[in-house]
C-alpha cells in the first residue's frame, strides 16, 4: 500500500473504532460532539461535565432568566443531530495522564481516550473573602443554578442590589434590576463600566446610560468588605471610600477563571491564561510543542490569531465556542493536509438598558477610537477601533445592521480611520485615544521559567497561580 493510502486507511480506522473523550458538556463540548458525528466518527464518544445538566445556553441567564421571564431550566440547547455519546454528567474531571491517555474523574473512575477535547470553559471568580462570600444574598452568576438562585431573590423585591464590577455581566444584572424597578448600586474599580472590553470612551457612554436608567454608579471604587446580619444574610457593603451601602443582595461580577486546575501536572501549556493551542485547536505542551491527541475549544482555549499579529487570544465568546469546537472536532478526525484553521473574527453582543451593544474584532487591541455613524446622544451609533493605522475592531449601539461592513474592513486589514459614512455622520469624527486600561490583552502573565541546558533536557516549567 502507498503511504497516502495507508494514511487514509488509518483515518478510516480511527473514525470507526477510536475512543474520543470530551471534557466539558456546555456549548463547545456539545457542538464538538455533533461535529464529530457529522464528520463520520462512529467510535466511542464520552462527554464529561461537572454540572448535572445536559448542555444549556448561558447568555440568557443574565438577561431573560434573571428578569423572571424564562425559567433557568428553560435554557437547554437545541441539538443539530444525535451524538450517541456516553454522558458522564455531574462528575468533574480532576486529572489528566497523558502517558496512559486517561482522564481521571472525581468519582475515581479513569476514562481512556485516543483523542481528547478540552472544553472546560471558565467559572465565575468568587468574592475573595470566603466568609463574606458565604453570606446569604451574595451571588455570582455563571451557571443555571446561580441564575435560578439570584432570580428568586430579585423576585422578592430586595431593598437594594449591589453589583460589584461593571463588566458585561455586571451591567446586564444592573439593567435587569432597573427593569424590575429594584434600586441598584454598581461599584466599579475602573473609571467607567465596560472599560476592559470597550475602553474608556465607550465606557463613559455606558456610564451615562446606567445613570439615566437610575443606576447608582460608583466608579473608581472597590468594595472593601461585606457585612452580614446575625442570621448570616448580607446587609451592607463597605466601599473603599468609607461609604456604606445597605443592600439585601450582592452580585460579584469579577470576571472569570479558566477551569484548568484539573490539568495540573499534565504537562500541557495550561495556566491562568487557559490552555495554549494552535489555530487548529491542537493543544501545546508546556514547551510550546503541539500535541497530536489533545485538542482545545471554547472559553478555555488560547490560540494565536493571524489578524492580531499572531498574538495568543482567548475569546470568551459564544461564536468562539461554536466555531472553535467545530474546527477542533474536524481536526480530531482528520490528518494533514485536511486540517482546518479556526480563523474567527470574534464578535459579541450584550443587551442592556434597552440597547443592543455589539462588537466585532478585538477592541482592546486598538488604541484609538473614532465614531463613524449615528449619534452618541441617542445611543445609536457605530465606532471603529484602530491600531497603527488599521482598523482592528468596531462596536455598535443599536446599529447592528452595519456591523458586518466593519467586520469586512477588519478582515481586509482596512485603514483606520475607515472611509467616512456618506450620511448620518456623528458630530465628531476625529479619532481619539480609546482609553483601555494598561496592561491590555493578554491580561494574565504566567510565571514561566526555562530549565535545563542540553537541548534534550531543556523544558519550561510554571507554577499555576491560585485565585
Amino acid at each position: 500500500m502507498s503511504l497516502p493510502a495507508t494514511v487514509a486507511e488509518l483515518v478510516r480506522e480511527f473514525r470507526a473504532g477510536a475512543r474520543i473523550v470530551i471534557v466539558g458538556a456546555s456549548l463547545a463540548g456539545l457542538r464538538a460532539a455533533e461535529t464529530l458525528r457529522e464528520e463520520g466518527f462512529t467510535g466511542s464518544l464520552t462527554i464529561i461535565g461537572d454540572e448535572p445538566y445536559e448542555p444549556y445556553d448561558r447568555p440568557p441567564l443574565s438577561k431573560q432568566v434573571l428578569k423572571g421571564w424564562v425559567p433557568a431550566d428553560h435554557t437547554k440547547l437545541p441539538r443539530t443531530r444525535e451524538v450517541n455519546a456516553d454522558w458522564r454528567l455531574g462528575v468533574a474531571a480532576v486529572g489528566l495522564d497523558r502517558i496512559t491517555k486517561r482522564v481521571r474523574l472525581a468519582d475515581g473512575e479513569q476514562v481512556p481516550y485516543d483523542r481528547l477535547l478540552i472544553a472546560t470553559g471558565t467559572r465565575a471568580r468568587q468574592w475573595p473573602n470566603p466568609a463574606e462570600a458565604a453570606l446569604e444574598g451574595v451571588h455570582t452568576i455563571r451557571s443555571r443554578d446561580d441564575a435560578a438562585e439570584l432570580q428568586k431573590e430579585l423576585a422578592e423585591s430586595p431593598s437594594r442590589v449591589v453589583v460589584i464590577g461593571a463588566g458585561f455581566i455586571g451591567s446586564e444584572v444592573a439593567s435587569v434590576c432597573r427593569e424590575l424597578d429594584i434600586p441598584v448600586t454598581v461599584v466599579e474599580r475602573g473609571p467607567a463600566p465596560l472599560v476592559g472590553a470597550l475602553g474608556g470612551v465607550i465606557g463613559e457612554i455606558a456610564a451615562q446610560m446606567q445613570r439615566d436608567h437610575g443606576v447608582d454608579l460608583r466608579c473608581g471604587l472597590g468594595v472593601s468588605s461585606l457585612e452580614g446580619d446575625s442570621g448570616g444574610h448580607v446587609r451592607r457593603a463597605h466601599l473603599s471610600d468609607g461609604t456604606v451601602v445597605d443592600a439585601d443582595v450582592v452580585v460579584a461580577s469579577l470576571g472569570s477563571i479558566r477551569n484548568v486546575e484539573w490539568l495540573e501536572g499534565s504537562g500541557l501549556a495550561a495556566g491562568v491564561w487557559g490552555v495554549g493551542c494552535d489555530a487548529g485547536g491542537r493543544a501545546f505542551d508546556i514547551n510550546g510543542v503541539v500535541t497530536d491527541s489533545i485538542f482545545v475549544a471554547g472559553d478555555v482555549a488560547r490560540a494565536p490569531h493571524v489578524l492580531y499579529e499572531y498574538q495568543f487570544l482567548a475569546m470568551e465568546h459564544w461564536d468562539n465556542a461554536v466555531l472553535g469546537a467545530e474546527v477542533a472536532a474536524h481536526n480530531m478526525v482528520n490528518l494533514e493536509p485536511n486540517y482546518r484553521p479556526h480563523l474567527l473574527l470574534p464578535g459579541f453582543w450584550s443587551g442592556q438598558f434597552g440597547v443592543n451593544i455589539k462588537s466585532v474584532g478585538v477592541p482592546p487591541f486598538g488604541d484609538e477610537i473614532v465614531f463613524t455613524q449615528g449619534s452618541v446622544a441617542d445611543r445609536s451609533f457605530a465606532a471603529a477601533y484602530g491600531h497603527r493605522g488599521r482598523i482592528v475592531a468596531a462596536v455598535t449601539f443599536d446599529h447592528g445592521k452595519w456591523l458586518e461592513y466593519y467586520g469586512k474592513l477588519i478582515e481586509r486589514s482596512g485603514p483606520f480611520p475607515p472611509p467616512p459614512s456618506g450620511w448620518d455622520q456623528p458630530a465628531d469624527t476625529k479619532p481619539v485615544p480609546a482609553e483601555f486600561p494598561d496592561p491590555r490583552v493578554p491580561t494574565a502573565i504566567p510565571d514561566v521559567v526555562l530549565t535545563g541546558h542540553a537541548p534534550s533536557e531543556r523544558t519550561a516549567e510554571f507554577r499555576p497561580r491560585r485565585h
Binding site: 458538556a25 462527554i47 448535572p52 445538566y53 445536559e54 448542555p55 445556553d57 447568555p59 440568557p60 438577561k63 431573560q64 421571564w69 424564562v70 431550566d73 428553560h74 435554557t75 437547554k76 440547547l77 437545541p78 441539538r79 443539530t80 443531530r81 444525535e82 451524538v83 450517541n84 455519546a85 454522558w87 454528567l89 455531574g90 465568546h317 459564544w318 461564536d319 461554536v322 464578535g347 459579541f348 453582543w349 443587551g351 442592556q352 438598558f353 434597552g354 440597547v355 443592543n356 455589539k358 445609536s380 443599536d398 447592528g400 445592521k401 456591523l403 458586518e404
Partner: protein, 72 residues
Amino acid sequence: MRIVVDLNRCQGYAQCVYLAHEVFRLSGQEALTYEPNPDDARRLQVERAAAACPVQAIMIDRLDGTERGEAS
C-alpha cells in the same frame, strides 16, 4: 421544543418578534431576547419565525428528544 438564536448573526430585523411575539421579544430597538425552550404548542409560530429570519440566525432542535444525556 428548543431553540437558540445566534445573536452575533442577528441584526435586529425583528421578523421573529412579529411572527411569534410570545417567544421572541425586543428590548428597545434591536436587542433580542427569547424563550429558548418554548412550549410545543408554539412550534408553527417558531418555525415561521425561523424561516423568516433574514440572516437565518434561529436554530431549532433537530432531535426528537430521544437521546439527551440529562442525568436522572
